[in-house]
């Protein structure tokens, strides 16, 4: 934009007498409105962080052990020290570790399914599918991104759970795996869309260079296009990861919601950070310790998704720099 303005200013360098240098009022008004909107968006973001932090921070000085939030403890009636999230009861157990384990487990399982599937779909649609098929497939997968997550959750709860239960012969019908498969329905379109963009933006000239050297179609794709699009594919996976960690409704409906701490067992029930906040915040007394811990969880989630976003942005900027080096 500044490049546009530069020559204009020069042409006004010697204006006729009586003509001022001031920007016309209407233009100043427009710029002012744009600035207000931009500042408003930033202010809203800041307000969210401040609000969430304000509710969580009193944990630092209010009665109750901070260690209990993260360290195993031997609760009354337990055989040994345990990590437990049972916020309601005579002795509320507010250990966040089971929830973090739950989120980690569901997220990792989801990405194990979604990353390969989303990227593979993108490779097929962008570079291998015949033109006619591509024009159907691309919108079809993208429409999946527009399905409300409660519908996907319902589908996971009813259909996916049946299939998983029957296939693996499970005792508990709703579990981490079912949630992860349901979540994949929401994450695959995210990974697909960005990957497809990255693959399509690899210059056609590189493809032709490889073809002219006698490369077969799959060699062009695997040895030229995918490596060139790699940073874009990485940021697609990272954005998918952010969606997986932050998604609420599907896991709330399909994960079973028992805060079981079994990191390596995909078929145990899990309770994620997001589902906990969604499920409990409406029923807890304001200002209660439980209330505060839920906000702490929100803060952790915010930090996590923000971190992923930054990482994604970093990767994208590296991609841009790489291609601009070629054009130089």
């Amino acid at each position: 934009m500044s490049a546009d303005r530069e020559p204009q200013r020069r042409s006004h360098a010697a204006p006729p007498r009586g003509l001022g240098f001031r920007t016309p009022r209407s233009h100043r008004l427009v710029e002012f409105v744009i600035a207000v909107v931009a500042v408003g968006a930033l202010a809203a973001l800041l307000a969210i962080v401040v609000f969430v932090a304000r509710e969580a921070l009193p944990l630092l000085w209010e009665p109750g052990s901070l260690a209990d939030l993260v360290v195993p403890r031997r609760w009354a009636g337990y055989d040994g020290p345990a990590l437990a999230w049972q916020p309601v009861g005579a002795e509320p157990k507010l250990n966040v570790v089971p929830l973090l384990v739950g989120t980690l487990k569901v997220t990792v399982l989801t990405m194990l399914v979604s990353a390969p599937l989303g990227v593979a779909c993108a490779i097929y649609v962008a570079k291998l599918a015949p033109r006619g098929l591509r024009e159907w497939l691309k919108p079809a997968i993208e429409v999946l991104a527009a399905v409300p997550s409660v519908v996907l959750g319902f589908f996971a709860l009813v259909a996916i759970a049946d299939v998983v239960e029957a296939t693996l012969g499970l005792t508990y019908r709703l579990n981490g795996l079912v949630a992860a498969l349901g979540l994949s329905l929401a994450v695959v379109p995210v990974v697909f869309t960005i990957s497809e963009d990255a693959l399509s933006s690899v210059p056609r000239s590189l493809e032709e260079a490889a073809l002219a050297l006698g490369a077969r179609r799959w060699q062009v794709v695997l040895r030229v296009i995918v490596p060139a699009a790699l940073p874009g594919l990485a940021s697609a996976v990272l954005l998918g990861l952010g969606r997986a960690a932050g998604e609420t409704m599907i896991v709330l409906m399909a994960s079973g919601n028992a805060a079981v701490v079994r990191l390596l067992d995909p078929t145990s029930s899990v309770r994620t950070v997001t589902a906990t906040i969604a499920g409990e915040l409406g029923e807890v007394a304001q200002g209660d310790r439980h209330w505060r811990v839920l906000f702490l969880l929100g803060l952790l989630l915010l930090a996590l998704t923000w971190g992923l976003q930054r990482l994604g942005a970093l990767v994208i900027s590296r991609l841009r720099r790489r291609w601009s080096a070629e054009n130089a």
Partner: protein
Amino acid sequence: MSVTTRTGPPEATKMSAHEVTVRYGDARAIRGVSMAIRDRRVTSLIGPSGCGKTTFLRSLNRLNDGVDGARLEGRILLDGQDIYAPGIDPVAVRRRVGMVFQRANPFPRSVFENVAFGLRIAGERDAQRIARRVEESLRAAALWDEVKDRLDESALALSGGQQQRLCIARAVAVKPEVLLMDEPASAVDPIATAKIEELIRELRSDYTIVIVTHNMHQAARVSDYTAFFNLGELIEFDETERLFTRPSVPRTEDYITGRFG
């Protein structure tokens, strides 16, 4: 990767086009082009923008196959064999007919890996043989002395002219018999242009070269034969010297004397 065997005397016909018409969808790019390309000679294709010279060049190694809606009628022969006949593998054709593009298009990898690419995809695994061929090819492209200490650096760090010679080295590395060049010197500075032209004259002893150029002086300097295209048709094809000094078609004379184009 056996050593390429050359057949016939130097003046033999390496490739030939017979009534070649290429359409993109409904638009006809070239019509009824027939000409012969002599073995180990430089043939240049000249003509105004949009005259179909690049389309013709790209049909010589079936690179238009990947363009949506492109269709070819007529026959193109390579050593007497129709490269568009059913059952012909376009990849096999492209291994024998290499190409250098208008804009240098090195892969975003090291200098070495760019030149080694064609060998690797053809299944060559022997590291020593690859290293030897990379050096040979870079020498053939008159680039070895400039890059021998930076083989592991990104090819994108080279200058524009060096990148284009790297692309020539990359094309030469797979030992094609025919080398197609689409305005190889149009995007580089005059010094780099001179180097590329010198290179073309040197490569002539080993390769059959077809070069598209919009620069008539370049055609006169580097080529043995010249074909003049206009509006999708081959207007005149002759030895370069004769075409530039005594063109037989008035249209050709108008073009080379600068009356249109």
